[in-house]
Amino acid sequence: MRHGSDKQPRHFSAPGDAPRVIDQGSVWILVAAPSIWAAHFLLSYWVAAIWCAKTGPMASLFEPRWIIVALGLICTALIAWLGVIAVRRYGGVFVIFEEITDSSERGRDRFIGHVALLLCVLSVVAIGFTVIPGLVFATC
């Protein structure tokens, strides 16, 4: 396991140990969860728009409703996986009791992990708020 109290030096020379996009120290994990939410938002609109255009303005949204829910579940799962990475690789915790002030790799990682975790929660809530209108409304 690569998570530990101290950061391993980064060497990707060994074959099979290719760099991962979201790895310890990478800030990509911060934008990943909100991006998934944005993608879900956009896709939901597309699904509804295409459905309404193809079946007439008063068509039942029964189908897109479940498509949006399914997309929501997939995105939530993706974000949950990101959350796991934030905890495992970055050592992120949900509630921080002391300030993270030390200028060390370890400190920066923990900070990124913490922020990533919070963003994951926020994104899941946001996806929920996108799914709810889809569930409530049955018309275009």
Partner: protein, 319 residues
């Protein structure tokens, strides 16, 4: 500054009573929104008091580091989880209301066409369309489905006491369902700026018992009773009024302005802005643009004396 705000308050509150009051519970749809409004207001008041109370309390108290964990937990639950749940619940509630009040079915259908700056109103009945203008009467406890469109620019159809509002868009049809639950004369207005006389684009929304409504609608459906040699009607035609206005049952079939077949049966003149009296009617004809600026009807300042009196008497007889 403070004084200014205090001065504004009575003016704002003045908008809160009477026939344009959206808190009057005069319509089933408005009532649903009203419930949500009061819960929001009350809830916000309670939460605001608690937060401010907590802030004052925290300010007064000595810092106690041993409570750090508790405090953080309190922030997590009170500052993150609680608001999320509350906002989520309100979202669901609001959406359900929205879904319930946007219906495309009604016990009667009324088409309303927004024009600058008046309303063309058409009741769909089994016997055919009944055309009228500038006044909308509705039976109480029945859902009226409004099919809305506009002739020139975007208008917006709003009867605050009953519910709404809904935009009227040229080339498109929007619908709005309203179910009045209180009889009375509720004010309606255009809620989308549409040019010069926008603020004078109003109408009466009169909610009546079903019987009275049926009688009224039957009367509206009738053609006007105009004698062939009615001097007033001759003047109406000589002046060219009939080129713009329709009086059903006569040669006057103009499509430009409001239908005048039962003009005098309306309570207001000029799209809900003046009382329907011979005096206002005479001024409407001679000083048209003083009465309502910019409108498409030309003034007739030279129409005076006996001719004017006869024309006005004729118009006032159209009930």
């Amino acid at each position: 500054m403070r004084r200014g705000i205090l001065l504004i308050i009575p003016a704002l509150l003045a908008g809160c009573d009477g026939r344009h009051n959206w808190l009057a519970s005069a319509g089933a749809e408005a009532q649903r929104v009203e419930e949500l409004f009061w819960v929001l207001l009350l809830g916000a008041a309670v939460i605001w008091s608690l937060v401010i109370g907590a802030a004052v309390y925290a300010h007064r108290r000595q810092v106690d580091p041993s409570l750090e964990t508790q405090a953080r937990r309190f922030i997590l639950w009170g500052g993150a989880v609680f608001p999320t749940v509350v906002v989520g619940a309100l979202l669901v509630w609001g959406l359900v209301i929205l879904r319930d009040i946007t219906s495309d079915e009604g016990d009667l259908t009324v088409r309303v066409d927004g024009e600058r700056w008046w309303w063309r109103v058409i009741y769909e009945t089994p016997e055919g369309d009944v055309v009228t203008a500038n006044e909308i009467r509705l039976p109480v406890d029945r859902t009226a489905l409004f099919r809305l469109t506009a002739d020139d620019v975007i208008h917006s159809f709003w009867v605050p006491a009953l519910g709404g509002k809904m935009d009227m868009i040229p080339g498109r049809e929007t619908t709005l369902a309203l179910t009045p639950i209180q009889t009375g004369n509720w004010g309606g207005l255009c809620a989308e700026y549409c040019g010069g006389a926008h603020a004078l684009m109003r109408f009466d929304a009169i909610v009546m018992e079903q019987d009275a409504f049926d009688t009224w609608l039957a009367a509206e459906a009738e053609a006007a009773q105009v004698a062939g040699d009615d001097r007033g009607f001759e003047i109406f035609q000589e002046e060219g009024c009939g080129a713009c206005h329709t009086i059903r049952g006569t040669d006057a079939q103009g499509p430009v302005g409001p239908d005048l077949t039962h003009l005098a049966a309306r309570e207001k003149l000029g799209a809900g802005i003046y009382d329907m009296t011979p005096e206002t009617m005479a001024r409407w004809i001679t000083d048209t643009h003083e009465m309502k600026p910019d409108i498409d009807m030309p003034p007739y300042p030279d129409l005076q004396g006996d001719r004017l009196d006869r024309l006005v008497a004729f118009l006032m007889s159209l009930d």
